[in-house]
Symmetry: D2
Subunit: 337 residues, 4 copies
């Protein structure tokens, strides 16, 4: 399906390495160059993939590189996306485009003017189970969607330094759920009510953020989405979705590493979930990069684009304001004039 | 555990008949008299249980009757509770005490002055699985409760006439979930944000009510409860709860009528859930009446009392106002001066 | 469905009391008399049900009693069945009819000559899940049955005194599975290969019996049934069946007392199964007595009769011989000349 | 863990290609050469992996090749194993070593004389769930093993030509279950009783084989293993194991491709299983090749060796004789003099 594709990678941290492995696994694609200020990280990825270490500018400007994968810290995304757009290259960028909606909007406009595709790293859309939910909904089996429920729980809170620069739980964590709610609910979100507490770690509260949160989204015609987030579980990374429609329900749960059940005096027991979002969404990470390679090759791909990135950020902004004000907050169309 | 107990029943409709059967099943308890303006209904219950048909006043005033079970339409509850209290009898009443919080508060005060116990028919507290959740939480296994999620869906909407006199979804349906949230969250609720839509039946919207709804409750220390309600499923009556704590999670799901699984080309299939809340909570209905008999006998019983009825109604009032205003609404202590 | 039915009960031990409760629960049926050499046991049942204590002969001969329920020790079954048949009364008897196939055959013949119905207490046929399996099979959904698998495990071994008089595991315990295999496989069993060991309790081995056993049954056209038995589990009474056909599979598992799941660092846990076959098959015990009342009333009832009792005993005999000889053993038609 | 390892592959059919992919996925291992009489098949594997096409003799004799992977038709296994042993190379071979136990025994002796390791392709031992079962058993959690149950069902029967040359169901299909029974039961098997029928396809019966089969194995101390096999399901490839011990039970079931559940009027539905054993055991196939690379590197590896291959074949022989004679058949120690 894909022709030979040469990609460049900006960022060789945790998620950058995930993308490097995914690129290696795509037939007829290869990682040509990798850039990271941490030369050890860059060299390590280079050695494993055959890519050459380079600066970010070199990656972006190299005419042999056909697409750029951005996995750098958030504050670099907007600028690097714009640079890659100026170089005329298809772009894959981790979310968010920027912490500021205005800044993100300028970036998306700049990309649009250059006419290059921009895929945002909402990898969950490529998870086989979530994709299947969407197919079943699109096929009409459950009728009109009425209510979406998303339970999304990290296994452990991030470092405080990360929390402080993250833009808050709604922009950093729940933004994935906003995107999935939009992916499944089939209408634009017009209103958000959100609340939250710092129950897991008082330091998160002291940093002005929450670690336990709930949001209720409302779509144009009154469809509802309930989302709950927590930064901590005892039993692993927990991601579940259910979609209720006028004629039925579809849900997706957590995959398990083994199918082993143990039974004894205290009952029946199965293993905890994996702690790692990389494990949980390993198929999704691979499939989104495959889709990006298709996109680079000019294929017809259904993918989360810049507008999807903007809209989820606008919802996150509204949720943050709702948390602060105790009011439902309307979600403005971020693509409007 | 219980000595011989003679009970009187007001109301021989659907739920009254459920209670009549439960009383028959309690060892050493019996239904002495039953009152219903519909004489056919009263006679039918009388015939099956050996009770005598009587008027409501006769039931309340009969000195041989040791406790009164009220299963009449909502608008009679307050007055009948007060009459039974004046007669000095322990009272079991279906919820709500009244649709108006003021009226309900006067009733609870009147009962308190008479010093008789008043049990409110929040039967879910007696469901073996929900009770087990509470025991596990009380035992400390999951640490401090942080987040409760309740999914509560009727199999089919009620008649419009009922909807019109019900006080709205939050007072009629979600009130059960408010009570369970309080039962499990371990702190008083101080704030509610609620929203809803009429997606199931436009006539429900025309009657000024919603049929698809969400609420987020916040307790004193910031614990959250998310509740979703719908008046319709395709697959039966759906009641699920999960409670997330600092050290783990407990959940309760839907019991199944059979354990049969069928497998074929299209995969694996199990039966739909029962459509009936009476089936779903059959154990709970029996166990709450057993507990009421213990209460009549002077036993130590953990039960939902008048204050529990008031508080849930206060939360329902706050949720209704939140729906109307788009704001979080504080829940006032209904027992205060 | 049933008219008023007066029943007599022989035997007020564990299973006799189960039947007494079931009779009390059937509308329009009542227990008129109960006999047990242990007068305390008989009186206790009598007090709870309103029956009068009586001798076995009095129960059988009382013209007001329309049906006899036999729940005495095995060595009394044959004689009491024959007495009740002579009295012209429909009979429900616990299995086995007798430990000796010859003796049982004479009893069934005697009953047949009197023309009274004889229902054998293979209660599992009335379990809602097993009954559903049969309906699905009869409806053709899984095509022709090819293979049945039955896992049947007691929670704890019986007393050695019981083991010594039980006729051995195949006649006492696996006989229930032979009956269910016949109920589901849809053809007569023609051959059995069985083996077993005493792994749970050496005393069982010393008594000449096994406590861990396997049998493979073969039907006329070559359909197979695999049965495993054990006298002990750590996790409760375990009864599972799966039926594989040419177009699909149906299975039934263990019902659970609660739907509670606990999750923590070590994973997910659910409760053990009930230890008690009375709990596990409580619906089945009630439904078989309901069916017997229908039978007494002349209703059309699908029930395990004397021949079913004989055939399962013949399979148990063949299995016992197979264990002793290490050969497959043909199952003779016990109803033949 | 593994150093750089150069492997040669004999056989580029379905399973050969699986192994080629696994080798490509092992870090620091590579496929140096591939042989197949079908040059198209060999070239295709060569192209995808960078291996060079070669004859079998060239692969075996090439001094740069450190280990040989044999995935040819069964009738070539013995001779190729012996050639590779003469060349002093560690050998991985698909099962069975030969259809004749005598022939297989000569091969294993020849390998032993050369002192090279021989791993047999019982890949299920490397399945993460099965491996976990073994670890739990070895850890003592379930006490002494008493009973093993294996349900093993192909999704569709093989071609008749294959059936005719396969040595029969017990040597071709159930041999995997014999190996897993040995892997889990913790003692040698001393006796087998087996039976079977041709219910799926009359042509299989006409070819002298069965397609629906059962076997009961007995270990030295009387532990039992029940195995059922069928050549057809409607719902996918079905592999389940449960192990009952004196203190508990462990089981492993079928992994699922998605976690999607659909609910509607007819109940709850999940997807069928994958039809493909390659999908089902994809992890196992990869992990066994990883283990083989470790073995080539001189690592300490727990693996199924030539003796395991012989013993499972001896059990299959005994099962075949049991099917023919209707008797339990003793399993002779195939490694004895």
């Amino acid at each position: 399906m894909t022709g030979p594709v040469a990609l460049g990678l900006l960022g060789a941290g945790r998620i950058g390495r995930v993308h490097a492995r995914s690129i290696a696994a795509v037939e007829d694609a290869h990682l040509a160059a990798v850039a990271d200020p941490d030369e050890t990280a860059a060299s390590s990825v280079a050695r494993q993939t055959g890519a050459r270490p380079a600066s970010a500018d070199e990656v972006i400007d190299d005419p042999a590189i056909q697409g750029v994968v951005i996995a750098t810290p958030t504050d670099l995304h907007a600028e690097q996306i714009e640079s890659a757009a100026r170089a005329g290259k298809p772009i894959f960028s981790e979310k968010p485009i920027a912490l500021s909606l205005d800044r993100a909007r300028r970036t998306v406009s700049a990309v649009a003017r250059r006419g290059v595709p921009l895929m945002i790293g909402f990898q969950r859309r490529f998870d086989p189970s979530y994709r299947r939910l969407r197919e079943i909904i699109d096929g009409g089996e459950i009728g009109d969607v009425e209510l979406v429920q998303i339970t999304s729980r990290d296994s452990a809170p991030p470092r405080i330094a990360f929390v402080e620069s993250s833009g808050g739980l709604f922009r950093d964590m729940m933004i994935h759920d906003f995107d999935i709610a939009r992916f499944l609910i089939g209408e634009e979100i017009v209103e958000v009510a959100a609340t939250g507490s710092a129950l897991v770690d008082a330091a998160i509260g002291a940093a002005g953020d929450v670690d336990t949160a709930a949001a209720v989204l409302r779509s144009r015609s009154g469809r509802l989405a309930l989302i709950s987030n927590s930064r901590r579980t005892a039993y692993g990374y927990d991601q579940r979705v259910e979609v209720h429609g006028s004629r039925g329900m579809v849900s997706a749960g957590n995959p398990v590493a083994t199918t082993v059940t143990r039974a004894g005096e205290s009952g029946f027991a199965t293993d905890p979930l994996s702690d790692s979002f990389v494990d949980r969404f390993s198929d999704a990470y691979r499939l989104e990069i495959e889709a990006f390679c298709d996109l680079v090759n000019g294929g017809e791909v259904d993918y989360p684009d810049g507008t999807d990135g903007l809209v989820s950020l606008a919802i996150a902004d509204a949720a943050t304001r709702s948390l602060e004000t105790g009011r439902s907050v309307a979600v403005a169309d971020p693509t409007g004039p």
